[in-house]
């Protein structure tokens, strides 16, 4: 029971990050690697705030704000300096590594004695579920607004947005800000949940986000009435389930990144409608000729 509860908690807590990645990867069509930096940024800001004695909810909001800023920088680099989307993400990620170290002062900050959002006696799963579900519904609502439509259209057909008299640059920057804000929020929750913040905790975060999105989509695509944000949350839980089982099977935790990579590859291959484990068809069955008219021209 504890095993499953743990999976659900982790799945939903990282699900907030997955929803952030969903905005950039799925809606905006922008592979944003700054996620690997803004996730520990959220954790670092939270840890420093908690050490300073700032209340946990304020600290969480600060973390969200720091994420907004990080995403804004990525967008600014891409839009104003015309740096490619991949590279602007990488630059921000690298820069944030040093910034995170500066914020925390050292590579690892334990939070064992600090008050966190989980110290009010409620079960952690309840607090986590409230956050994840709130973010999901807020995002669902946001995507139905006029502004949300424009973000969707920007990923879909930038020319249309320009034709509507709107600067796509600003739209991209705002979408990246919201995305990284959610990622940092998730980082903040994780730091408070596991009661420490580590500068290396963001490594591979983007791949994990993609894995969850693709995983969720591959499995729930054919189920009607499941909206993409729900798929992303479910995907995150499924991803955590599969890694938990990998650990149960006796793989050492150091193998987890490789397992993640394999999950992504498998999910992508399945999504393409190709089963990588099926052999090539060597024989084809004969049949009626397609042309029934035997007269020549």
């Amino acid at each position: 029971m504890d095993f499953w509860l743990n999976i659900l908690e982790q799945g939903l807590i990282f699900g907030v990050m997955v929803l952030g990645v969903y905005i950039t990867y799925k809606i905006l069509d922008f592979p944003d690697l700054s996620v690997d930096g803004s996730f520990p940024l959220g954790a670092a800001v939270t840890a420093s705030c908690l050490i300073l004695g700032i209340g946990p909810f304020i600290a969480t909001i600060f973390a969200f704000g720091a994420g907004l800023l990080a995403g804004g920088v990525t967008g600014f680099l891409h839009v104003k300096f015309k740096i490619t989307n991949l590279l602007s993400g990488i630059l921000v990620m690298i820069g944030l590594y040093s910034i995170n170290l500066r914020i925390m002062g050292k590579a690892n900050v334990p939070l064992f004695n600090q008050e966190t959002i989980f110290s009010n006696g409620l079960k952690p799963i309840m607090i986590i579920a409230v956050f994840a579900i709130l973010v999901k519904f807020a995002l669902d609502f946001f995507l139905k607004t006029k502004f949300g439509f424009i973000i969707k259209a920007t990923g879909d057909n930038p020319q249309l947005v320009t034709s509507l008299g709107i600067d796509i640059g600003n739209i991209k920057i705002i979408a990246l800000m919201i995305s990284n804000g959610l990622v940092a929020l998730s980082g903040s929750l994780v730091a408070q949940y596991q009661r420490f913040s580590d500068v290396g905790m963001g490594t591979g975060m983007i791949v994990m986000g993609l894995a969850s999105i693709i995983f969720g989509e591959a499995i729930f695509k054919r189920v009607s009435l499941v909206v993409p944000t729900t798929m992303a949350l479910f995907g995150s839980v499924l991803y955590k389930t599969s890694t938990a089982f990998a650990l149960k099977l006796g793989f050492p935790p150091t193998d987890l990144k490789l397992i993640t990579a394999i999950i992504v590859i498998a999910a992508l291959a399945v999504n393409q409608g190709k089963n990588p484990f099926k052999g090539k068809k060597i024989f084809s069955m004969g049949g009626d000729p397609i042309v029934t008219n035997s007269k020549s021209v």
């Binding site: 607004t145 006029k146 439509f149 969707k152 020319q159 509507l164 008299g165 709107i166």
Partner: protein, 264 residues
């Protein structure tokens, strides 16, 4: 209405690929004009539309739209007064969104895109009426994703969307070239209907001489970045394909002649 003065544009200046498309090009368009533009490939027709809409920056010259100098405005600011339909049917719509969402965005052009609801149930009868005009049965599938529609359906929708907000000027860049003849005819009918009903000033590039003659009140033939033929009013009404082809060939042969002289 639209005044273009001394437009100059050279692509890849100071390289071996240098190509001067326009040298001191000028054009006046009156309010309510429907101008068809023909000309061989490379004559600068599409470049002209791209320059008006701000896709391509000019080297020199001024463009005034409704007494406002727009030469230095970025594309997204100019497009607020300009409607445009491209040759590629996928350029004018958002494929992963449905017809209602696409039309809602188009209707909201010029207003704020804020956090109010993007589409409203109240608009559905209006949209049904709007799309029933194009007689493609789209009124029964308003919640279909646009990506699933055929090229002709999408292009009709693009046309509706481009004109939804009453632009000052409508630019049509060979907007029927990618469609089959029958659909193409339909779109042309729709274009004529919308333009004449709403009296939108229109520039239409086409390779179809029939369309160029039958539509609009003015015809421009472009060649090598210049207007070589400008036919309006009564003269336009009596124009036939033979006459037009005659002019076309005369210009072409002039070209050949000079080439021949050069290389002989």
């Amino acid at each position: 209405m639209l005044r273009i003065r001394n437009l100059c544009k050279t692509f890849h200046p100071n390289t071996v690929n240098q190509k001067t498309v326009f040298n001191k090009f000028s054009l006046d368009v009156e309010q309510g004009d429907f101008i068809t533009i023909i000309g061989s490939n490379g004559a600068g027709k599409s470049t002209l539309l791209n320059i008006i809409s701000g896709c391509i920056e000019v080297d020199e010259g001024s463009i005034r739209l409704k007494n406002k100098d727009i030469s230095n405005e970025p594309e997204f600011k100019r497009t607020r007064d300009i409607g445009r339909v491209f040759q590629d049917p996928s350029m004018g719509t958002s494929p992963s969104m449905n017809i209602i969402e696409n039309l809602s965005m188009a209707m909201n052009k010029g207003k704020k895109f804020d956090l109010s609801m993007g589409a409203s149930k109240k608009d559905i009868p209006l949209f049904e009426k709007l799309v029933s005009k194009i007689h493609l049965g789209l009124e029964n599938q308003l919640d279909t994703k646009v990506g699933l529609l055929s090229g002709g359906q999408r292009q009709s929708l693009s046309l509706l969307m481009a004109t939804a907000s009453n632009p000052h000027i409508l630019l049509l860049d060979e907007h029927t070239a990618a469609l089959d003849p029958k659909t193409s005819e339909r779109i042309i009918d729709l274009t004529q209907k919308i333009v004449s009903e709403r009296k939108i000033t229109t520039l239409m590039v086409t390779h179809n001489l029939n369309q160029a003659i039958s539509l609009g009140n003015r015809l421009l033939m472009m060649h090598g970045g210049k207007i070589v033929l400008d036919i309006k009013g009564e003269e336009k009404k009596s124009l036939t394909i033979e006459k037009l082809l005659g002019c076309f060939e005369k210009i072409q042969s002039d070209d050949l002649l000079s080439d021949r002289l050069l290389f002989s």
